[in-house]
Each structure stands twice: as C-alpha cells, then as structure tokens.
Symmetry: D2
Subunit: 230 residues, 4 copies
C-alpha cells in the first residue's frame, strides 16, 4: 500500500531574522509558511530544518526519514557544509525527492545534481507582476491550475538560466518588465526526482498564494518515491 510521504522543508532562515521587510512577511520563517501550505494540502508528516541547527538539521537520521526535501536558500549557500550536501545528494540518488525553490537554483545541492553553473545573472527585486503560464497542462504538477496564474509582485529572473534541458518544462514565467523564465523544470538523478519552481522572494508573500501552495504540493507529490506517491 502507498503511504503518505514524509516531507522536510529546509530553509536557510536568514533574511526573516535579520531583515525587517522579510520578517514582516514571514515572521516565523519561510519554512513555516511552506509547511503550513503543505499541511493545508493534506500532508500529515511535514517537519522543518534550518541552516543554523546542528548539521543544518539534516542529519542522516532525518534524511533517512524524509521522502521529499523542499529547499529554500539565497545568501548563505556557501555556509552549507559540503558533507551535508554530499549526504543529501546520496539520498536523492537513492530515491528521495527534492523540490528546489527560487534562489535555490544556485544552492550547492542543485548545482551538484545538475552538473551545470545553474546561474541566473540578471534579476530585479523591484516587484514586478509575474504571470506563470502552464506549458505542460497534462503534467501532474500542473493539476488543478488554469492556463496561467499571476503573482502581483515578485522578483524577476532573466534567461538564460544555465541548467541542463529539463525532462519536462511545466511553467514559463512572463514578467511585466520584459523577461521570461523557465519557472517549472523537472529532472531525474539516480532514482530521485527533482522539481525546480521559481517564485518566492523573501520580501513578498508568495508562499501564501493559493496557486503557489498548490504547485508546491503537486511538486512534492510528484517527487515522492513511488512507494509513497499518493
């Protein structure tokens, strides 16, 4: 029988403690907002982990009890210990799902799994309107969405994002200021499924938006190992 996937939401948890604009939006941290969204979508087993915990909260025991890991990082990628990155990588190879959010594209773990720079060299934090357009409507990660949804204010990213061609491209973002971005990309590495999803600047309430929460929930479900995919 299939069982509910066990999810760990990881956050560097830096801006929300040191930057008032971020604390105002995410007083308990981005990880808590994401966790709450998953719980609201019916996930029963969702824990959190943050950078400053011992071993970043990602001990071998925690990873062994995690079916899908959600990753948010931005300014402290370099503070993540290589030994923990290696541990996460091996769990992904063994089948753990990984959902990488926003600036996590440049995290050590995402770069180690893609084998590319995974860089985005142009961005704009002014808060433009972002329209996230579904290009693969039949993909389970797009389930329950319309043709597109909008985020009133977000940081924009510009192409090229230096990643390998995704297996499936689920979303492309349109930004008011003239940019586009491949905002939903899937990969497989070893037995593990990886989903990159773009939105989520730390000063905008993105992770409270219903469609964003739905996409993350869909992504966690899709990335879960077969035995726990529900």
């Amino acid at each position: 029988m299939q069982v509910e996937p066990r999810v760990t939401v990881w956050n560097e948890f830096h801006h929300e403690r040191y930057r008032p604009e971020s604390a105002a939006v995410y007083p308990h941290g981005i990880h808590v907002a994401i966790r709450d969204g998953l719980v609201a979508h019916g996930f029963a087993d969702v824990r959190t982990a943050t950078l400053d915990e011992p071993e970043h909260g990602l001990t071998q025991a925690v990873l062994d009890a995690t079916d899908v890991l959600v990753w948010w990082g931005h300014v402290r990628h370099d503070d993540v210990a290589d030994s923990v990155v290696e541990r996460v990588k091996r769990r992904v190879w063994a089948g753990m799902g990984l959902v990488v959010l926003h600036s996590g594209h440049y995290s050590k773990i995402f770069r180690a799994l893609t084998g590319t720079p995974s860089d985005v060299t142009i961005w704009n934090e002014d808060g433009e309107r972002e329209r996230i357009v579904v290009v693969s409507p039949g993909h389970p990660i797009a389930a329950g969405l319309g043709r597109f949804f909008e985020i009133e204010m977000e940081e924009s990213y510009a192409e090229p994002m230096e990643v390998p061609n995704p297996t499936d491209l689920i979303f492309v973002s349109w930004f008011q200021g003239g940019e586009v971005f491949r905002s939903g990309c899937t990969y497989t590495r070893g037995r593990g499924r990886i989903f990159y999803f773009r939105p989520g600047h730390e000063t905008f309430p993105t992770y409270f938006i219903p469609e964003v929460r739905r996409v993350i929930a869909n992504g966690v479900r899709w990335a879960a190992p077969e035995a726990s995919r529900v």
Copy 2:
C-alpha cells in the same frame, strides 16, 4: 567534402495575392522575402515553390534535390494534397531538413511529424511587441544573436502549444500583452532535423528583420543533412 545545402522555400502564397495589407508588405510573396534573406546569408542554391503550382511545386524531383525545405502556410493547410505531405514526410525521414515557420505549426506536414495536435488556440493579430529571448545560447541556431531581440509588431501566440517536448528549446517569446511562447523548438524524425520558428505574420515585415533572417539562416544550416552542413 561538404557542399552547400540546396534549399527550397515553400509558401502557400495566398494572403499576398488576395489581401492588400499583405501584398503591401510582401509584394512578391513571403517566400521571396525569405529566399532573399537566405541569399544574403550566403546560400547560393535557394529556389521557391508555392501551393498553386502543379503538385504544389514539390515533385519528387524537386524534393530529391532539396536538402532543407522551409515551410510557410496559414489558411490553406487543408488544400495541401495528402500525397505531397506523404512525400515530404518520407524525405524528412531520409534526412532532408525542415524549417517550419509561424502558423506552419498547424500544417499537415508538421502535425504528421510531431504526432500531436500542434495547435495554438489563442492568438492576437493586433500587433504587439514581441521579445524573443535566447534560452539556449550555446546552440548553433542562436549563433550571432544577443541575449534577446525584438520585433516591434507581431501577432502573438499563447501557450499551451500542443507539441511533444522539443529536443532543444532555443527561444521563448515574451509578448507585451502578457503571453509567452516556445518560439524556437527542434526535433528529429528519422534522419531528418526539424526546426520550428514562430514569427512571421503575413501583414508585418518580419521576414525583413536582420535577426529573423539570421535565425532562419542558422536554422537552415543546422537542419541540413550532415554532408551539406556548412
């Protein structure tokens, strides 16, 4: 030794004869504008063919002497004889390159080769600004381009376009009105290479724009069979 690819530019050649706005922009037909662009890019052997010629100008002899076929069609897809579609398809399978432009996504030949509806259900002919963003800067079809280029007025298309995942996604378009589109897509079928390139509404002077001409030239070069890829 490599030899110069022999190119045939096919056009249904309807609007330019019957619609004044089109005739004003393309008095000799879209095919002639495309041919002139290829000649300007150094292709020495470029002929044209149109729908109302016998066998649509695509006899077996013409196809056998064609290394890359460029295709423009819009309102008369259904008037293309199935026997000619079959003939073109078999030449692609045998190695002829195919560059499909604009509304050619819905041509019989492109649909037969993709195996999908290849449909675009939302479009807007008002003439929006289109920004064509390079997402695969290392691909030969993007050679010589900057990070993006713009077309002042174009018809817009909206996703989803119902095609298989392209092997490489070269361009994504941003439209002023809020849409995005996968504007440069590559496929392989049998030994033949296929490149779909979006721009080219019949009432806008798109095929005179230097960057558009460059992309079509790059696409023809890329799609040519190995022996004639120069």
Copy 3:
C-alpha cells in the same frame, strides 16, 4: 479520489484463428491472455476488442470509456480503418494511455503518434533466448523486477528501430543471436502517455510469463490518466 483505470485490450486476432501454431498457444486469442494477466494483477475493468468486430470494437463510446488501450497487431495493420486510427489518436491526445506491444510498433496508430517510420527491418522468428535488461530501475514500469528477466524463446528484433528518442528507455533486450533492442520505450503525445513493450510473438507463450504480465500491468498503471492512476 483515484479510481481504477478502465482497460481495453485490442488484438487483430488473426494468427490465433488461422495459424495452428498460434492457436495452440493462444486458443482464445492473445487478447484474452493479456486480459487474464491484467485481471490477475488486480485490474477489475478489462474488456477486449478485435479487428473483425464492427468498427474494430473501438467505437467512440468504447474509447470514451477506456482509460488505457493495449494494442497488439501484426499482419493486418493495413486493415485498420483510418477513421478508427484518427479516433484513437484523438483519445490519446485527450489523455487515454496506450500500451503498444511487439509488432504493434508498425501499426498505423503508433506510427501516427511517433511521426516516424517506426520500422524494424531485421527480425528472426526462430525462437532465440531473450534477456530483457532493466536500464531504468527507478521507473515505475520496472517496479518489482530484478536486474533482468529472460524469455526462453522469442522472435528477435534488430536495431535500428526508427522511432524518436523515447522520454525514458526502460528496457534493452539482449538476444542470443547477437542483437540488441530498445524493448521498453515511453512517449507523451498531447496528454496521453504511450508505452512500447517489445515481446510477444504469436507462436510463443510470452504473455503467460509472470514478468511479462507484470511489465504490462505496470505499463497500464503508468499510462493511465492521472485521475485513474492507482
């Protein structure tokens, strides 16, 4: 809630009626053997359809009530009406799964969906040992299998098979006589998932082999539309 997928097993049902060696192995037809395998794997709603029924048993009503269609054909591909092929194709585009078996690679429906010749030009019906090796052990279609399984006597196919690159290559066959073959290939067309699985010559009891039955059951589950994937 997810519901059980409704499966239709289609067979041209020719050899088993006219060729004694086939009738000896499959007295009720290949379709019945496949159906029995699916029922043994817990599928509750499995019907059959054959070429000589009106509309080949594939009326619009039947297709509308089918979540996954399994296809076996060999010598009578040309007798399948184009109108039925078109109907099946549109159902796949709309989300129906399709599992194509053995010489079904050359069926009208598979060729229409791949856009390629889908041909295999060398084969040997002498009955060699086939070893089916799992190259994507993490894929749900390989669930429950070991590193490989063997079929004591099968027809062999030789590469190249003229198909587009599969999204995932699940199995590669090794044949005693020196050939290899991409025996498990997945594709997506529109919203429909397609799985090609090689084994199944009409004079060998392939569809009674437990591992073969398991693969077909896995394939049907994988190809089912999201709402009925169990």
Copy 4:
C-alpha cells in the same frame, strides 16, 4: 571561418607502466594510441597529458588552448586533484568538448558533470566478444559505420549504468556473456558537449581498431565548439 579543433588526450597512464599485460599492448601508453588514431583521422593539433605531470598536465593555459579533451582513467580517479576537476568543469561549461572513455564513467569530472553516481557495478574482464550496435544511424558520431561493428575481446559492463538519460543514445553494446550496455551517450552541460564511449580496457588493443578510432574521431568532431567543428 572554422578552424581545426585543438585536442588534448588525457590518460592516468598507470597500467601501461606497472602492468605487463597493459605495457605489452600499449607500450607508449593509451593516450599515444588514441592520439595516433586522431592524427590518422586528420586532426593536426593533438597533444597528450597524464596524471603524474604537474597539475596532471592540465594547467589553465593547456585547457584554454584545448577545444576537446579526451579522458581515460581507471584506478586512480581519486588521485586527480579537485582543483583540476573544477578547472576542467568550468572549461566544459564555457564550451570545451569532453570525450570520456571506458572506465572514465567513474572519473570525478564525469560524475561532477552528470550529477549522478555514474557507476557500473558489474563487469567482467575475461575478454568477451562485444558487438557495438548503432541505434542512431543518422547521428554524426555514427558516420561511416555499418549497422554494427565487433571487438573480438573486451571487458564487459552490465546495466544499469547510473547516469541521466542521454540526449542521444548512439550505441548499445551486446556482449557474448549476456549483457547489454548503453555504450555511446551524449550530454550537454553549459555550452560544452560531452560524449561517453564505452570500449577500451587496458589489456586489449581496442584503441587500434579502425571503427573505434573512427568513433573517437567522430566524437571529437561532434564535441568541438561550433567555431572549430570541421
């Protein structure tokens, strides 16, 4: 104008110095045999580099003057300095081609670029017959080959090889002993093209075989950056 690609053939050069069976076959080292094969195929600028040279012979200056790097390693992967691996990786991202041979699948550089274990857990050094079957006959790496070619005695590898799905699968090997292997795989990382080619055990004269030399020459040509692809 296109110019001739500058090639560097790298070898750990260990077996040939310390193992008589290897020295007997490759008295000057595997790298020299590979270089000679490339020179025979018309490459004019081919140098070699080996592990025990300072910086393994791969200084920044050497890499900057290299368009395609060929890599052979086996028992001393761990002796390659991480700083050199990082340097090679960045050159690949910037456009340098990489041809990885045989047990190089487990080299630090290939693993860093694939993002996977890239492991092969079963092999046999007894010297079986290997038949290398072309599955993508239209690919430039298969140019000039027949449907397959054979190597009388080679080490065999067994699937699964833990790599990402290749962009193109060019060759599949059949081994006398019952195994198959994806022997020719292509990838792109950043602007760099990567080709993995399986054969080449250190005690068999594989790199003197005409077809093997042709494949390596084709692979180098294919992997060269656009400006030097000839």
